[in-house]
Amino acid sequence: MTTHAKPREIIAVDNLVQTIGGQEILRGFSLKVYEGETLVLLGRSGGGKSVFLRHLIGLMQPVDGTVTFNGQNISGLQERDLARVRRSMGMLFQNGALFDSMTVADNVAFPLRERGETDEVLIASKVQTALQMVDLHGHQAKMPVNLSGGMRKRVALARALINEPRCMLYDEPTAGLDPIVADSIDLLIRRLQRKLGVTSIVVTHDMKSTFTIADHVALLHEGRCYFYGTCDQLRASTDPVIRDFVEGRSHEEP
C-alpha cells in the first residue's frame, strides 16, 4: 500500500479585503494554493481577479486579511523586503508590461542582468532559449512598439520565466491570442508544471484553457470564493452561477 504525502501549501490567502475608489472589490476572499499545482481563478470582468493576483506578489497591500507565501506572511512587508519574496515568483501582466525603451532581447535579459549576470554569451543563449520556448526566436532586436499584442505577451512570458521562478502568476495569458498560440501557451504552462514543478495561478475567462491546464479551479463571485474544486467538479456543478459562467449565459433577451 502506498501513501501519498499531502501537497504542501505554497500560498495561503486568508480573508482578503480590498477597497478601490470606495468600492469593496474583495470581501473576505480565502484560498489555498498547493506546491506544483495549477490553479485557475475564474470570475467576471471587473470582479477583482487581477486585484487578487496583485496581492499575491505584494503589488497591492490588503485592507484586511493576510497573504502567506511559503510560510511567510507577506502582507504589510516593506518594498525592499518583498524583493526577496518576488525573486522566487514571476508574473505575466495582462498587457505584457514590457519596458518600451528596451529591445525584446534586453527585456528578456533584464531579470538576469538585474541579478548580477554579466556573461553576455550566457545571457544571449538564455534569451534565445526563452524566446524559442514562446515561439519568438529571431525577434530579439525588435522594439516592443513594433510587436503585436500577442507577441508582446509572449515576450513578457519569456521575461517572467527566464529566472525559472517557483511560482508563476498569469493575468489572462491567452486573452487576445489566436487559438493556436493560446493552445501553445496552455501547453507551456502544463510543461513548466510537469518538468520544473512550477506552481501556477492563472486568471482567465477562457474555459477551454481552464479545462486544459487546471488542477483546481476557484470562482471569484461578489468578492468571495464562490467555488473551489477540480475541473470535474466544476463541470458537474448544478449551481446556476457556476453554470452561467461555464456556459457563458447572460440571460439577456436577444
Binding site: 496583485r54 506578489i57 505584494g58 503589488l59 518594498e79 525592499r80 518583498l82 524583493a83 526577496r84 518576488r86 525573486r87 515568483m89 514571476g90 508574473m91 501582466f93 495582462q94 498587457n95 508590461a97 514590457l98 519596458f99 518600451d100 533584464f110 531579470p111 538585474e114 513578457a156 521575461r159 517572467a160
Partner: protein, 262 residues
C-alpha cells in the same frame, strides 16, 4: 468658515506633498547606501539630462548675459561707469541669473521628460513589472536620475554662466566700445570664489529639486494619457515655482557663508 477651511486644506495638502517628496528623497538615499547604484544608467542619464541640455542652456546663458549687459550699460553710461558693467554682469550671472535661469530651463526640458517617462511607465504597468521582477523603481529610475542631475547641473550652470559672461564681454567691448582691459580688470576684481561657489551650489540644489518633483509626479501619475499629461505639466510648474522660492531662501542662507562684495 469656508475660506478658512479651504486655506487649511490647502496647507495640509501642501504639507503632505512636502512629506511625500521627503519620503522619496529618503528612499533614494536608502537605495544609494544599500549600494543600488547602476553606473551604466547614471552615464545614460548624464547624457540625457546633461549633455543633451547644453544647447538650451547655452542659448539661455548667452542671450541673458548679452541683454543684461546692454541694459546695465545704458544705465551706467549715463553715470560714466561703463567699466562697471563687467562686475555687475558677472556677479549677477554667478549668484542669481545663471543658476536660476539654467534651473528653469532644465526644469522645462528635463523635468517634463522625466515625469512623462515615469508617468507612462506607471500607467502601462511597467513600474509594477519592475517591482514584480524584484527591482525597486526608486533604485532603477530615481537614483540614476538623481546622481546624473547632481553631476550635470553644476556643469550646466557653469556653462550658462560662462557663455553669459562671454557674450556680455563681447557685446560690451566690441559693440558698445567699453575698454577691454578695464572691463576685465574690474570684473575679475569684484568677482570671487564665493560667487562661483554660490552659483554651483544653487545649481546642484535646483537639480535635486527638479529630480524629486518630476520623479514624484511621474511615479504617482494616474488615469492614463490624461494623467501623464497632468503629471508632466505639474512637474514643470511645481519645479519652476520651487526653484524660485528655494532660490530666495538659498540666497539668504548662502549669503551668510559667501557674502556678496567682500
Amino acid at each position: 468658515m469656508a475660506p478658512a477651511r479651504y486655506v487649511g486644506d490647502l496647507l495640509l495638502s501642501f504639507a503632505r506633498y512636502l512629506g511625500d517628496l521627503a519620503l522619496l528623497a529618503a528612499e533614494t538615499m536608502r537605495g544609494i547606501f544599500h549600494g543600488e547604484v547602476r553606473p551604466r544608467l547614471v552615464v545614460q542619464q548624464i547624457y540625457e539630462v546633461g549633455f543633451r541640455s547644453q544647447l538650451v542652456v547655452l542659448i539661455t546663458g548667452a542671450f541673458t548675459g548679452a541683454v543684461f549687459a546692454t541694459q546695465t550699460y545704458f544705465q551706467f553710461h549715463r553715470l560714466q561707469m561703463d567699466t562697471a558693467v563687467g562686475p555687475v554682469v558677472s556677479v549677477s550671472m554667478f549668484r542669481e541669473l545663471g543658476p536660476v535661469l539654467c534651473g528653469l530651463m532644465v526644469a522645462g526640458r528635463v523635468g517634463a521628460a522625466m515625469s512623462a517617462e515615469l508617468g507612462t511607465m506607471k500607467v502601462t504597468e511597467q513600474l509594477d513589472a519592475l517591482r514584480a521582477l524584484a527591482v525597486h523603481p526608486v533604485d532603477y529610475l530615481v537614483i540614476p536620475r538623481f546622481l546624473a542631475m547632481l553631476i550635470s547641473m553644476p556643469l550646466l550652470v557653469a556653462e550658462c554662466i560662462g557663455v553669459g559672461i562671454l557674450a556680455a564681454y563681447l557685446l560690451t567691448t566690441q559693440v558698445l566700445g567699453v575698454s577691454e582691459a578695464y572691463y576685465l580688470h574690474n570684473m575679475l576684481h569684484f568677482t570671487g570664489g564665493r560667487d562661483v561657489a554660490m552659483g554651483l551650489i544653487k545649481g546642484m540644489v535646483f537639480g535635486v529639486v527638479i529630480v524629486f518633483v518630476s520623479c514624484h509626479q511621474g511615479l504617482n501619475a494616474r488615469e492614463g494619457a490624461v494623467g501623464v499629461g497632468r503629471a508632466t505639466t505639474e512637474a514643470v510648474v511645481i519645479g519652476s515655482l520651487f526653484i524660485l522660492v528655494v532660490n530666495f531662501f538659498l540666497t539668504m542662507t548662502l549669503n551668510i557663508f559667501f557674502p556678496a562684495g567682500k
